[in-house]
């Protein structure tokens, strides 16, 4: 997977760590995951890209309730309808997702872990494509899927006590799966880190990218030092605006 580096496409300097993170994240999307192979994961990325132009999604977005509008999603991804529904809703209208909608997705044939991995793929793909759009460079052509099979390992200690999905507490991380929290001490593990922890590899992949495009956890409140070319207040102003646009309650 070469020839699509951010620094090759952007007409301005790109930080080396950002260049590496972009490449690493794309490789993650194309690789076999924990529950889906690379081809399925890239099909989810395709569906994610198609979602903003989906007629059903647009109609639902304009509706007082998205559940009042029935129909079929526009998709060339080749994915089953139930997966396209999950991808499109997370991409286009995540602020109005409900636990009952999530339960219907599970009752429709997805396992909880398969669902969480879809959340991870959509989140990383959204970050990468948003970054490209913001920078003014074209979205990266989808790479070829990398060979291999999903590992299909669920952390035995994950339990549904916090969220719609099972989560893994830092003290319950075991040696037989990746540590979703990396080198974070338990006091630095927030609920946002726990959200996808039943699929640890997705937590690690998202926050490896996020540490570079935003800030690593240790730097969030280190106001005595600046880590980027804009300061903490400038970054948080941008963050607040984007969160408001997305109706983010978190």
């Amino acid at each position: 997977m070469s020839g699509e580096k951010l620094s090759d496409l952007a007409p301005f300097a790109i930080r080396a760590d950002l260049d590496r993170a972009y490449e690493r994240a794309w490789k993650h999307l194309a690789s076999p995951g924990t529950w889906w192979d690379g081809a399925h994961r890239l099909a989810m990325v395709r569906a994610c890209r198609e979602a903003p132009d989906c007629a059903l999604c647009r109609e639902r977005a304009a509706s007082l309730s998205p559940f009042a509008v029935e129909g079929v999603h526009d998709s060339t991804s080749g994915l089953p309808d139930n997966i396209v529904e999950v991808v499109h809703r997370i991409r286009t209208d995540s602020g109005r997702l409900t636990e009952s909608w999530f339960r219907r997705a599970i009752d429709g044939g997805l396992s909880e872990t398969e669902y969480v991995e879809i959340v991870g793929v959509v989140s990383v793909a959204t970050a990468l494509d948003t970054l490209a759009k913001a920078l003014g460079i074209p979205p990266r052509p989808l790479p070829e899927p990398l060979p291999g099979s999903p590992s299909r390992h669920r952390p035995a200690n994950a339990r549904r006590t916090l969220a719609w999905v099972a989560t893994l507490e830092p003290e319950d991380v075991a040696d037989d799966h990746p540590n979703p929290y990396g080198d974070k001490t338990p006091d630095l593990v927030a609920n946002i880190h726990r959200g996808m922890s039943v699929v640890p590899a997705e937590v690690a992949a998202f926050f490896e990218l996020d540490d570079v495009i935003y800030l690593p956890q240790f730097a969030l409140k280190d106001f005595a030092n600046e880590y980027r070319a804009i300061d903490h207040a400038q970054m948080e102003l941008v963050a607040a605006r984007v969160s408001l646009i997305n109706r983010c309650r978190y």
């Binding site: 996020d210 207040a233 607040a240 984007v242 997305n246």
Partner: protein, 109 residues
């Protein structure tokens, strides 16, 4: 919450007027940053190109790249929170009562 905490550190009072309206939040180059964030998420190609040029003029290319990263981060992380149903931590709710009211967040759910 982090915007307020950074203001406390800098001895500044940052406001939510830019987040919700036409102000600049009291943050240097706040208007250009906000216009860029808005255009990157929901603007037309022309709006985004103009916002990009204005932001580069204000904070330079390095600052612009870093702002683009923040936009990307927060356009993605919200989906994890929303799609997994994780709750907001109690300490965050307690410390952001005024901000949540001002932004109307509590009215969404």
């Amino acid at each position: 919450m982090l915007l307020r905490e950074s203001g406390e550190h800098y001895g500044e009072t940052y406001t939510l007027d830019g987040v919700t309206g036409d102000g600049d939040g009291g943050v240097p180059h706040g208007r250009q940053l906000l216009d860029f964030a808005q255009a990157a998420i929901g603007g037309t190609e022309i709006q985004l190109r103009r916002a990009r040029e204005a932001l580069i003029a204000a904070v330079g290319e390095e600052g612009f790249v870093d702002a683009a990263g923040v936009v990307a981060s927060f356009n993605a992380v919200v989906r994890i929170a929303d799609a997994t149903g994780i709750p907001v931590e109690n300490f965050k709710l307690e410390r952001t009562v005024e901000e949540r009211a001002a932004l109307g967040i509590d009215d969404w759910h």
